[in-house]
Symmetry: C2
DNA sequence: CCGCATCCGTTTCGATACTG
DNA sequence: CAGTATCGAAACGGATGCGG
């Protein structure tokens, strides 16, 4: 069983050996959102062959990124969960997702979409510094059962899974993921959005103005092609 | 020419399509450290076939991550440089490298090592918040011509390439990369290090105490295998 | 030399089928 | 449900060749 190895004494190369193969980082993404069974992953990844998924899971377990957790009968099952090492990949996944957002484009006909991913999408832009203490519940069409909370606070914005919508000052329902992000980036005004019906708000509509303060969609920019790169 | 595509509507998947193939992220790493020629990259990557390197460079250019820059005669050459999109991969590379550090281990006999990489290694741990205003020049054995400066300041620690060692309060010479990091993490005391000769210091030795304040080597920790993952 | 293009043996992937 | 087995297709690694 040949394990690929870059012959480089470099931490980046080591990381790439572990999570750099096809599908692997996407497996980590799905497990960051919660424990999953083999078939959950297979469906969510939309198109991995069972053999490759099996091989990846085995390798990730070897490298102590994930672990198996057997669920007791009555309904026995194997759950894959992240180890503490695996959970430390969250910043990596968020930075990569942030970078990838620019090239997301429109959804193609047979692009798979997993409602859960929205949580990660929001976490990608969660502001790190202090944000207004405010809780917004978010629900997106086509992802009704995967609502979540955006919770502002001293230590930054937190994305919380679950349906404790009673805790929220506002319940925001959007027609599509991009509507949410357009709203947060300021590209779409609340007035426009409500008027055109792409969002529906329950609660204090005015309080929705804080959304851009909870999510930092600022496009990181630099000048074109300077000779030196900053490191 | 078939371009691989994950059929997923997810920014992480898009990012993985662009930088997720073998060698690609390592190419970006090398270009983050400065413009490179084809043969520089080939040597630095230590083991890519020319065809694969060529294919990757072409693909990265298509995707606007890198660009070609022709150097004028007398010595014509093609330089590969990062575009602004490519430079925005720096946080990704740093987070991945940080994660990979845990599995770096000892250097194997035929592991390639590029002195420049040390700059990235330090940037990986550069503290983000305000740090003491202090400039430390660093030189590591085997990487003499790739010295750099660690510059503390209000906006965090900066890693600066070059040999303006005159600006530095201290010049630190270490026998190996890991010695530097052991020193920064506190695993090795300055007294021990100087006594055993693994480092040599010019200038105010006492000022070297700030090193752990410039570099944040704190091991991110969490409890073992909790059911929920935080996003 | 430098930047590839081509050829070829080996590895990896993807789709389908099959099993405990 | 959770994988293994199989097999053709694609990708990779190494060597060689070739124009600028």
């Amino acid at each position: 069983m040949p394990v690929f190895r870059y012959a480089q004494y470099c931490p980046l190369a080591r990381a790439a050996e572990v999570v750099g193969e096809r599908w692997t980082i996407l497996i980590v993404r799905d497990l960051l959102l919660g424990p999953k069974r083999f078939s959950d992953l297979k469906r969510s990844l939309g198109g991995v062959s069972a053999s490759v998924l099996s091989e990846r899971l085995g390798r990730l377990e070897e490298r102590d990124v994930i672990a198996r957790s057997e669920v007791a009968p009555p309904t026995p099952a194997t759950l894959y969960i992240l180890t503490s090492s695996g959970r430390r990949l969250l910043p990596v996944v968020l930075e990569l997702a942030r970078w990838g957002t620019a090239m997301l484009g429109a959804r193609e006909p047979n692009d798979h979409f997993e409602p859960e991913w929205l949580r990660l999408g929001c976490a990608t832009f969660a502001r790190k510094g202090p944000t207004p203490a405010c809780t917004i519940a978010v629900r997106v069409a086509g992802a009704e059962q995967a609502g979540f909370l955006l919770v502002g606070g001293e230590s930054g914005t937190e994305v919380r899974a679950g349906d404790q919508f009673a805790d929220a000052a506002i319940i925001l329902a959007a027609d599509a993921p991009m509507t949410l992000f357009a709203l947060a980036s300021g590209g779409l005004s609340i007035a426009q959005a409500t008027a055109s019906g792409v969002i529906a708000v329950e609660g204090d509509v005015a309080a929705l103005e804080v959304l851009p303060e909870l999510l930092d969609m600022a496009p990181a920019e630099t000048e074109p092609h300077p000779p030196q790169q900053g490191v």
